[in-house]
Symmetry: C2
Amino acid sequence: MTHAHGDRLRRPTMVDVAQRAGVSLKTVSRVINKSPHVQQDLIDRVLESAAALGFRRNHNASTLRSGLPTATIGLLIEEIANPFYSTIADVAAEVARHHETLLITASSEEDPAREQQLLRDLCARRVDGLLVVPTGADHAFLRPEVELGVPVVFLDRPATGLLADTVLLDNRGGARDGVAGLVAAGHRRIAVLLDSLSVYTMHERVLGAQEALAAAGLAWDPSLVRQDVRDPAAAGRAVAELLDRADPPTAFFALNNRITVGALQELWRRRSDAGLAGFDDFELSHLMPRPLTVVAYDLRAYARTAAELLFGRIGGDHSAPRTVILPTRLVQHPSP
Amino acid sequence: MTHAHGDRLRRPTMVDVAQRAGVSLKTVSRVINKSPHVQQDLIDRVLESAAALGFRRNHNASTLRSGLPTATIGLLIEEIANPFYSTIADVAAEVARHHETLLITASSEEDPAREQQLLRDLCARRVDGLLVVPTGADHAFLRPEVELGVPVVFLDRPATGLLADTVLLDNRGGARDGVAGLVAAGHRRIAVLLDSLSVYTMHERVLGAQEALAAAGLAWDPSLVRQDVRDPAAAGRAVAELLDRADPPTAFFALNNRITVGALQELWRRRSDAGLAGFDDFELSHLMPRPLTVVAYDLRAYARTAAELLFGRIGGDHSAPRTVILPTRLVQHPSP
């Protein structure tokens, strides 16, 4: 298997890095291999020299000769059981295959400590690049890796403390459209079901929902908002509780695909004619036994954009980091 | 993070392996690190000594001190976009988390060469164990890894050329029940849609379907069998082509969840009242707009059985390899 990167005239070696940094080859090796007890100023000098020369650890001839790496990228997602993430993993593997590169996937389970551990672990396992759906609030710990030539692209949520390529959805616009659609259908009391406001996408979608209500002259009613709706079962319970109130909502806006599925099942169980719109499409949405509106987008193109950005970086694109935002569209499914 | 294994009195070291094998420490190191050009008889002596002593590479003090590994297991599946596999990955991650172990997942895409490359790559990255849904016809190449203490558990399909723990479904019994259900509903012309007979599960399910037809005194009609149905779109095309025949089938048996979804969509599109039964349940099967029978089983328990077998091995269970077979049950969904 050939390495996926384009040929260069001569790749910088550890010797070049040592020379420029004015340190011994051994010091460069210790920094690169993250040996303990290296002085911080030596680490800084080596990292700066490596960055200036465009030195990439995995291009090092000795590493290539050691028999270890096939070209490999790492993908960090939140939860593989969600089709949103498993589709991302599928597309990333497809793009990686095209570049004769393997993909290894790990799940952060929305736990920042776990995310950091997994990312460090993937770096220690010598990946050529990282595709990350971030969970944590600080990704500065990845800076040395990035400077040693492990490119990182963030997908679905921006990183913090690190400048890097980022691919996002138009969360706010999509949520605005979703709620505006419910308003246009005559709804005035619209419940909003979400995971957690600490998740970037949720926060953006709430802002979009608020904008749509404000544009229609409707107040944002916190008593109709349910947070911590983390899976379909929780969504079903939230819908049941809201509908059992004396003044129930007449429609629901679900802020992700898992919430939509749970809300839909409970509405169908009750044969409720409440309106339902949800962010994210899902495979069988057009076959559901009741009307449903989804904020859809091209999930495969979304993931592909991020994966191809990453391979561009691996291939030597050193231009300034980019942020790409993909559009959404409203799809209304009548009862089949 | 602590290593997940129970404490032992003293773990065998490379020195012990070298002593017992009557070779130098350097030779042991070269075998363990898979250096090229080591004589086969030396490799055999080292592997035998390592196996006899219960030496495990990752317990080696020098590896633990190097800062590399958190405890990690590898999961090899076929295709992450299929909810069958993403659920397995989710459960494996859950069990691994319980053992303070990370999970990395890779997809073989049903390509034996790719499978072998990925498994070698995961071993080179020093995983503590492997959970494998095998694709290839020969897994003897994993023998040195297993003898060096990297346990392997096979899930959904048995390995070839290697004795190892294996967790399977009652494919034949489930398929028999599925077809018998269609026969009981009065169907005599039942089409069978499958991926490939070279896949173990498909072959077993075809045998089960044949048994059910034979038990009902019905002939197996090859003109009603469609192979190479690899995704929902292909399933839709196969259904369309069969229904457009002069003598169409009155029912379809779909041999996996992806085929069922595609067949169902095409049957619904045509408002066909043909019978449909499918192997594997899927999340929204009870909300489909037409009747559907599925061969269901507890997928999470299935995956958990395999993951827990693996951690038993990692924890020191050296008993003879086991094969566990999980039962299926027929679930009939009327039109909602």
